[in-house]
Symmetry: C2
Subunit: 366 residues, 2 copies
């Protein structure tokens, strides 16, 4: 992995990542030159016992720009700079122009509930320079690089004392509200462990204390023995519709042996995870022969300086469709009660995805 | 409040509620005569530590029927029976034909995670016989009756030993996935306290033990003193954009003094809550001069036979729009991490709604 760190005219950081050495002298552009003044804050939600982030500048963010301007493509017309420079690199990461959290946030308002500066970070990860690609048609060693990039960002962000948790994710498709169609994801780095990963860690810690083994590690072994919902499996990685899927086409991707964070993956594990990722996204796109929207999130151990032997890195995909023409809306029971009601059995949806034939041979490692 | 309990040909219960006595001899219709065979089950999600409901029959449920057939209107053509009979009544409640939970559910499958029969209940509440109405244009004493109906259903469902929690809610608008436009809500009755109300109860219990006062009771007093986000207030009820709103136009409606459940409201509190409800929904519809979609949920004490002095009944409205033409999608940070990022300050959105002038005079109590 090669990388080059640059600074944009507005003060934001840009890091270029590549499978090959990157030429010197690249200048980082920005759609705007004014310094970023983001000052988001957190308010305590006393009834739910959780933090909510407020960043009132975000309403004006880019929304469905005309086709000739793609802020995530390399700049071609210097009159209309994008977020990325020309040059030979595979993946780029930069600070979000309209962040929900910012390391420099300060002086939160005094309110009737507790407040804090939202001292986190929001980064954009551009997966490739090619706007027509998606995870399903990137080369395996490009996906391998992406796993390294997520690991590098987790380390770089997690090394900051105020960052407790790093979540790489991808929102894909207009159905999940994506405003820019260039293949990209985001990384949110939080100054606390957010409620969902906190709950998962609690469950994993309790299980680990009782069994001296990982909860997900054992669940994966049970999924392998049950052999009904598996979409991909090799020596190091697995992809499956989990037995407790909340979304009809929910899929989890994980190393078979527990690894706490993205940065700790071995080369073998990364290569297998790249194959699992490509298999899953190809099956998704092949299911109805069209791009398949989803939210993908990577859960890993907190960056709190503690050891987390209970934590088992994995990705969860939440696709919004329940059939080819019907969305699963989150409504009363999901959003208000927190109990998901799934119209479909995971075994049935796994069969649908198992039936989509995928050939990784043509996209083997370069 | 007058009520009449009927049985549909397929074995489902129908209860008619009215402000006036209901004539005898009404027959309950049903769109189908075959007995309902729902047998949903729950699976334990070990990583999240929560139950997920599976009801695989639900994919075939009614979806955008042609305009001439409205299953929630009274039956006019006996060849195409709907869910409701002709007759003089205001509100009707019946068991969902395609429930996510059912009291008669039995023999859950043996799987690699724990399972249970989904011994809950799912009811549909038809707010009025008039398909063109909504909560905003029902008479105040019709809304008062609706609060009594929710209270009666909470009691009737909660009296069953297996029911631990009753959640009345309304999904309104195509934006939140509503397939039937006739004004209606739902009631889900759970065999456990679901994760979100469980978390709220924990927070309220901890506060109550420390202060011998209610958490929401004190927050309401702070909102009154702060006087920035209030939309309606009288002696008994209040409506406000909460200081910790997760959705831009989130609104809470509550009695000012703590009341654990809907059935325990006094007549004065109900009348004030009806005014608050009508004010909020009129302001919503008036904001952009069009029907305003939302999810509305009523949080109350569990029906577990315990006293819950810490619990403070209230409704939360989650509108999906962040501006007139932009939806707030729940994406990576909301769905995967559980931290909401709100583009707007609650103070600003409260101002928007405060500016919508509402006149309750013409819709005074009949």
């Amino acid at each position: 992995m090669y990388l080059q760190e640059l600074l944009k005219p507005d003060g934001r950081k840009l890091t270029l990542y590549s499978r090959c050495p990157i030429a010197a002298g690249i200048q980082a552009p920005s759609p705007g030159n004014e310094p970023i003044q983001a000052n988001p804050h957190l308010r305590w939600h006393p009834l739910r016992g959780e933090w909510v982030a407020y960043a009132s500048h975000r309403q004006g963010r880019t929304f469905m720009p005309p086709p000739e301007y793609n802020p995530l493509a390399p700049t071609t017309n210097p009159e209309f700079p994008t977020e990325l420079p020309q040059g030979q690199y595979d993946i780029a990461v930069f600070e979000n122009r309209f962040p929900s959290m910012a390391v420099q946030a300060h002086d939160p308002p005094h309110l009737i509930v507790d407040t804090l500066p939202a001292n986190g970070a929001c980064e954009v990860v551009v997966f490739t320079q090619d706007p027509s690609k998606s995870l399903s048609n990137l080369e395996l060693d490009h996906l391998d690089l992406l796993l390294q990039v997520w690991g590098d960002r987790t380390r770089a962000l997690g090394d900051q004392a105020q960052i407790q948790y790093v979540l790489p994710f991808e929102n894909k498709g207009v159905e999940v509200g994506v405003t820019l169609h260039h293949p990209h994801g985001q990384i949110y780095a939080y100054p606390f462990v957010p409620p969902v990963p906190a709950r998962m860690l609690e469950q994993q810690q309790a299980y680990y204390q009782q069994h001296q083994r990982g909860l997900l590690q054992d669940l994966i072994q049970q999924e392998i023995a049950d052999d009904q919902r598996i979409l991909y499996r090799d020596e190091w990685a697995i992809a499956f519709v989990p037995i407790c899927a909340r979304y009809p086409y929910e899929v989890w991707v994980a190393p078979i042996q527990p690894v706490p964070t993205l940065g700790e993956l071995t080369q073998e594990q990364r290569r297998s995870l790249a194959k699992a990722l490509k298999t899953v996204t190809l099956k998704f796109d092949g299911l109805w022969n069209r791009p398949f929207p989803y939210l993908m999130a990577w859960y890993q151990a907190p960056t709190d300086g503690q050891l987390h032997p209970e934590s088992h890195l994995h990705a969860e995909f939440y696709p919004p469709y329940r059939t080819a023409d019907r969305l699963k809306y989150l409504a009363g029971t999901e959003l208000a009660a927190g109990m998901f009601a799934n119209d479909a059995l995971p075994e049935e949806k796994a069969k649908d995805l198992q039936a989509v034939v995928v050939n990784l041979a043509e996209s083997a490692y370069a």
